[in-house]
Point group: C2
C-alpha cells in the first residue's frame, strides 16, 4: 500500500487548522478565499483522498446505493443491476446488492441494516404492498418494475402497450385460437400485460384461452403440455421469455412444430430469447434504460434536486424472430 | 423514522463515560465486570444499534465485501453473486457489486475507491495477470473462477476433469469426428478445459478438430456454420453453454438434426442449458458452491482465521439431456 495523506497532513501543508480543512471538505461554515486556495493546493499536491467513512460521519451522507431485487439469478435483473451500477460508477456511487426472495422480513432487515450503514438511497423491485418500511425511510427511494406506493417515484416498461403490440402480432400472423399465459394475478406488471392482451383481442374474431402461470420454466412446460393435449391452440402470448421457453419445450415434446402449427410470442427481451432455437419472437423491454433511468432519478433525489417526472414508462419493442410467421 | 439511541444515550443510562462504552463496543482496553453489566443492560433497554460507520472509523473495519466480476449480465456470474450474498448476509456482511468489463483500469479504480470506503475484503474474478493492485492490498482477497497470483487463495471448478468427463461422454455416445470449441487461449479455465478435452481423446480412434471461440453466442453460431459446411463433424465439445447454444442454432439453420446427426455437450450448467430445445447435455459447475465457499473463505480471512486450504477445486457434474444419444 502506498502512503495516504490524511486531513492533518493537508492542514499542516496549508498552514491552517484541521477544523478549517474539515469545513472546506464538508462545504460548511465560513472559510476565507485565501484559505480555500491554500487548502485546495495542499489537497492536490498531497493527492489527498478524503476517507468516505469519515466524511459520512460528519455529513451523514455516503455514496452507497442499496439495490433490492427478488433474485439476481432471474435473468431479468442482471441487466437492470448492470445499468444501475454503470450510472452509479459515473457519479461515484457504489451499489450494494440485496436479494429479497420477495420475503417481506428479508426486505425489512436489509432496509434497517443498510440504514445503519448510512446508505444514501434505495432502488427497489418488490411486490409487497405493505410498504411502511419504504414510505417512512428518511433517504430517497425509487421503485423499478413494480409500483410500491403513490409517494415513491416509479419506473418501468409500458407493459400494457407492450403486451397489446405482442398480441396484435399474433393476430396479424393469422392466429385464431390464442392462449394467454398471464403472470401471477395481483402482480402489477403481470396485470398490466393481461390488460394489454385484452386490449388487442377484445371485439376480434378470435377464440381466447387464459391460464395463470408463474414466471418459471418447468411450471410453464407442464401447464402448456396439458393444455395443448386438450384444446386446439395456434398461438401463445406468454408474459415472460422463460414462460415462452417452457411452452416451446412442451410443443417440441408433443411433436407440434413452431411456428408452422403453433406461433409463440414471449415478453422481456432477455438474452435467452435470442439463444433459443428457433429464435423467440418477443416483446423486448429496454432493461438497460430502465436501470439507468432509475439510477439517475435516485442520484438526483440524493443530491437534493427535483424530479421532472415521478413516473416514467419506457416503451417496449417487438422483436420478430422465428417463432411467428410474420405477415402470414 | 423511529428515534435511534446513540452512544451518549447508552453512557447516560449506564452511568459511565462515553469512552467506557466505546471500549466495551470495540472490545478494547480494560472494563470492569460491573461496567460491562450496566452497559449491556443499557444497550438492551435502549435497543441501541451501534452505527457501522462510527465503528469502522475506530476499528478500521467494515462489513462490506467488494465483489468484482467482468459482467453480471454473463449468465455465469449472477448465481455466483447470489451465493456470495447469501453467505455474506448470514454473517452480517454486505456485498458491493462491481462490473470490470475485464478492463484493468476499471478494476484498479474499483479497488482504490472501495479501499477508501474501508471495504473489509474482495472476491474477484479477473483474467488480468498484472495483479499488483491485488497482491499489495492490505485487506484479504479471494480469487474465483480464475487464478490471480500464487499468494491469493483461489476457488474454481475442476475444469480439466470436468472437460475430460464431458468429452468422454461424446466418445461413449459413438462420436468419431469431434470438434472442440475451446475458449480464449491464455484464459486459465479455457486452457484447463482444453487440457481435459485432450486427456479424453489422446490415443483414441477419433478425428479431432479444434477451433478457438469466445464465450459468445453470435460468434459461435457463425464459426460453427462455417465449419459444418466444410468438415464432417458428428460431435461438438463446447467450452460454455452459450457457445453450445450458438452451435445448436447453426446446426438448426443448416438442417442438421441434433442429436441424430450431431451430438453436442456444453459446459457450465447455467439455466440456459435446461431451457434450450432440445435440452443441452452439459458439464455443470456447482456455481452456488463456488460462490458460497469463496464467501466463507473470505470472511474467515477477514476475521483473522487461518484457511485450511488455499486452493479449492469443486468437482463438475455431467448432466445428460437431449443433445447426446447416451449409450448409443
Amino acid at each position: 500500500m502506498e502512503w495516504l495523506a490524511n486531513i492533518r497532513d493537508v492542514a499542516g501543508k496549508a498552514g491552517v487548522s484541521v477544523a478549517t480543512v474539515s469545513r472546506y471538505l464538508n462545504n460548511k461554515g465560513y472559510i476565507s478565499e485565501d484559505a480555500k486556495r491554500v487548502i485546495s493546493q495542499a489537497i492536490e499536491e498531497l493527492n489527498y483522498q478524503p476517507s468516505m467513512i469519515a466524511r459520512s460521519l460528519s455529513t451523514k451522507q455516503t455514496t452507497f446505493i442499496g439495490l433490492i431485487v427478488p433474485d439476481i439469478v432471474n435473468p431479468f435483473f442482471p441487466e437492470l443491476a448492470r445499468a444501475i451500477e454503470d450510472v452509479a460508477l459515473a457519479y461515484d456511487y457504489t451499489v450494494i446488492l440485496c436479494n429479497s426472495d420477495e420475503e417481506l422480513e428479508k426486505e425489512i432487515k436489509y432496509v434497517q441494516t443498510l440504514q445503519r450503514k448510512y446508505v444514501a438511497g434505495f432502488i427497489v423491485a418488490t411486490s409487497h404492498e405493505k410498504a411502511e418500511h419504504y414510505t417512512e425511510l428518511n433517504v430517497p427511494i425509487v421503485a423499478i418494475d413494480r409500483r410500491i406506493h403513490s409517494s415513491i417515484p416509479y419506473i418501468a416498461t409500458d407493459n400494457r402497450e407492450g403486451a397489446r403490440v405482442g398480441t396484435e402480432h399474433l393476430l396479424q400472423s393469422g392466429c385464431k385460437n390464442i392462449l394467454c399465459m398471464r403472470g401471477p394475478s395481483g402482480l402489477g406488471p403481470a396485470d398490466d400485460r393481461f390488460d394489454g392482451f385484452n386490449d388487442a383481442v377484445n371485439g376480434k374474431d378470435v377464440k381466447t384461452h387464459v391460464v395463470e402461470c408463474p414466471f418459471q420454466f418447468e411450471a410453464s412446460e407442464k401447464i402448456v403440455q396439458d393444455i395443448l393435449q386438450d384444446v386446439p391452440i395456434d398461438g401463445i402470448f406468454a408474459s415472460s421469455d422463460v414462460t415462452a421457453a417452457g411452452a416451446m419445450k412442451a410443443a417440441h415434446s408433443l411433436g407440434i412444430h413452431v411456428p408452422d402449427q403453433l406461433q409463440i410470442v414471449g415478453y422481456d427481451g432477455t438474452m435467452l430469447a435470442g439463444q433459443l432455437t428457433p429464435g423467440l419472437t418477443t416483446v423486448a423491454q429496454d432493461l438497460y434504460k430502465i436501470g439507468a433511468t432509475a439510477a439517475r432519478m435516485l442520484i438526483k433525489l440524493i443530491e437534493g434536486q427535483e424530479l421532472t417526472e415521478r413516473e416514467v414508462l419506457i416503451p417496449a419493442e417487438l422483436l420478430i424472430r422465428e417463432t411467428t410467421r410474420s405477415g402470414a
